[in-house]
Structures are given as structure tokens and as C-alpha cells.
């Protein structure tokens, strides 16, 4: 099975969010403790399947144990849509598998090109066994 070709939604001017589905860009991303640790910056979509696969999240600065980003850059992570819950009334994205103090264990998203094993690393970090109490 071929991997889907991921594109940023902003790079697809002929596509838009499906009618009835929210656009979470700009929404706060909160962990299991309800604390926000980032903001949805962009959506990575599979144009062929017409689905959003990942949320490109820009992390807040000064998160514990997260090294500061390089100058003029932000620390970002990708969150699979299937792993989050959307709060459309409060415009929040909840990730129960992460918290502010555990986000440092999550693989940062350094480039739009996904390196080999990146998705597997994400899934492993999101597995329940890695969630800190």
C-alpha cells in the first residue's frame, strides 16, 4: 500500500473543509490535564482521500524539557487527527495521550518531508504505555 501524498491544505487552493466539518486552524491544543501546549498551525491532508490526516501544531515556547527552537523557527509537532478530540464549541483540540510536561517525549516535526520511521515514532509516542501518569 502506497503512503498517501500529504499536502498542506493552504497549498491546495481548490480544496476547502467539507461542509459541516470545522476548520481547527488556530484552535488551542490541550493535553489530558486541560492545559494548552500549542496551537493548530496547519492541516496536512491527503487530497486523494479528501481527508485531513494530521494537525500541524505549533508548540508554546518555554514548555518544560523542550529545547528552544532555532532562531526564527518554532517547535512543531504533528498530531494524527484520529488521535485527537475536537471541541467545536470551545474551539479546542484535546489530546488525552499528551500533557505539557510530557510533550518533550513527542517527536518534533522538523520538516514538511516526513523522515522514514517518523509516523511509527509518533504512534509509539501516542501509545498508552508511554503516557506518564
Amino acid at each position: 500500500m502506497n503512503s498517501p501524498i500529504l499536502r498542506r491544505l493552504r497549498d491546495l487552493p481548490t480544496f476547502e473543509m467539507a461542509t459541516g466539518d470545522p476548520d481547527p486552524r488556530g484552535w488551542a491544543v490541550r493535553g489530558s490535564d486541560g492545559q494548552a501546549f500549542g496551537v493548530v498551525h496547519e492541516l496536512l491532508v491527503d487530497p486523494a482521500a479528501q481527508r485531513v490526516l494530521y494537525l500541524d501544531v505549533q508548540l508554546d515556547p518555554n514548555l518544560p524539557n523542550v529545547p528552544p527552537p532555532a532562531p526564527h523557527t518554532e517547535t512543531r509537532i504533528l498530531l494524527p487527527v484520529a488521535a485527537v478530540n475536537l471541541d467545536t464549541e470551545g474551539s479546542n483540540v484535546f489530546v488525552t495521550a499528551l500533557r505539557r510536561d510530557t510533550i518533550s517525549n513527542y517527536p518534533p516535526f522538523l520538516d514538511f518531508m516526513l523522515p522514514p520511521g517518523f509516523e511509527e515514532a509518533m504512534q509509539q509516542a501516542l501509545s498508552p504505555s508511554t503516557v506518564q501518569p
Binding site: T14, A18, P22, V45, Q50, L86
Partner: protein, 214 residues
């Protein structure tokens, strides 16, 4: 677990289509608001040129057809309208000329810038009354009241809108006062004809806007 879908954007209507519709709408509104009033058009047409003779079925070569073939006189002035065209005898030629001038006179009195003047309205009514019996073809109707009323009407119009035609209007009123009201003798016919010519000339002058009359 969340699920988010995307869809191809729906084709929005071309902005040029909307612009075209807006232009069409504006044109329609402008047409309805700026088109000339049909009543004004009818009045202008009847004032500027008499209605053309209806096409009839004259036999080719007949005397009537030959008469029709001769070029008609120019009809761009009121004076030429006053020329007697009916085969009436000399006895009612003056009445015919006066009745031919009557519509033009009343239209002048009904002109937008004149019809609200009380004196003009009164003189118009006088003229209509004075020519009513003539219009009905009464052979015993007197010609003089109509001739005098026409002069008085033009005098009222002159006093309202044409101050530089004062001498012409006064001269016409004076001439009207000298008319006998009959059209029997050659002298009376000539006098009536001269008066009516002068009346037609003044009426023609007044058919132009006051600003154009020097």
C-alpha cells in the same frame, strides 16, 4: 476520535457575471426613470409637424393622384399651415385659416411655461369660446370674436414670456380691432388675410422658446 474531511471548492459565479447583471439592472432603472414622457412626445410631434396624410387608394393617373404627386409645401412653420388648403369659397376662407391656426394657438397656451398664467388661461378660454361656433360650421357665426380673441391670446403670451415682441403683439391687437368681422368683399378678404398672416407669423415666432427669440 475526530475525523475531518475536505472537499473541492464549489465553483463560485464569475464576478464579471455579477457586474454584468448589475449593469443591466442599472440600465433598466435608468430607462424607466429617464425615458421621455409619452404625453410630451405626442405633444411635441403634433406641434412640430402635422400628421402625414394617410395612404389611400388613389387611382394612378387620376387628377387627384397628380395633385398628390406635386411636392407639398414646407410644413416647418406655422405660417405655412395657415395657407388655405380647403376648397372653401372666399366667404369662409378666413374662418378656415383661423380654425387651422386654432390647434397651434391652444397648444401654445398649454405649453408648460405658459399654462399656469391666469391671463393666458382666460384668453385661451375666450378664444375657444369665440371659435366654437366657427368650428361647428355655423354659417352665421361671426368671424370677428375669434380674430380678436386670437390677438388677445397672443398678447397675453407675449406679456408673459416674450417681452421683446411687444410691438408686434400690440400691432396685431390694433389690427384686430379694425377688422369688420366679415369676409365678403375683396378688401375685407385682403384685410383678413393680411391680419391672419401677421397672426401666423407671430405665432410661429412664439413657437420657439423665449430664450431663442431675439
Amino acid at each position: 476520535m475526530a475525523e475531518l474531511r475536505i472537499q473541492p471548492k464549489k465553483a463560485a459565479p464569475s464576478p464579471w457575471l455579477l457586474v454584468g447583471l448589475a449593469v443591466l439592472l442599472l440600465a433598466a432603472v435608468a430607462y424607466f426613470y429617464l425615458r421621455p414622457d409619452p404625453a410630451d412626445e405626442a405633444r411635441a410631434t403634433s406641434t412640430s409637424a402635422p400628421a402625414p396624410a394617410p395612404a389611400d387608394s388613389l387611382a394612378p393617373g387620376s387628377p387627384a393622384a397628380e395633385a398628390r404627386a406635386t411636392p407639398p409645401p414646407a410644413t416647418d412653420s406655422v405660417g405655412t399651415q395657415a395657407a388655405p388648403t380647403s376648397p372653401a369659397g372666399a366667404g369662409n376662407a378666413a374662418a378656415t385659416m383661423l380654425l387651422q391656426l386654432s390647434p397651434t394657438l391652444t397648444q401654445l397656451a398649454d405649453r408648460a411655461d405658459l399654462r399656469d398664467d391666469a391671463a393666458i388661461r382666460e384668453q385661451r378660454d375666450n378664444f375657444t369660446s369665440a371659435t366654437a361656433r366657427l368650428a361647428e360650421g355655423d354659417p352665421h357665426a361671426s368671424l370677428r370674436p375669434g380674430l380678436v380673441a386670437a390677438a388677445s391670446l397672443l398678447l397675453a403670451v407675449q406679456q408673459k414670456a416674450y417681452p421683446n415682441l411687444e410691438s408686434e403683439a400690440n400691432s396685431l391687437v390694433q389690427k384686430a380691432g379694425l377688422l369688420s368681422g366679415r369676409n365678403a368683399t375683396a378688401a375685407e378678404q385682403a384685410q383678413n388675410r393680411a391680419y391672419l398672416d401677421q397672426l401666423a407669423t407671430l405665432l410661429n415666432t412664439m413657437s420657439y422658446p423665449a430664450a431663442d427669440v431675439l
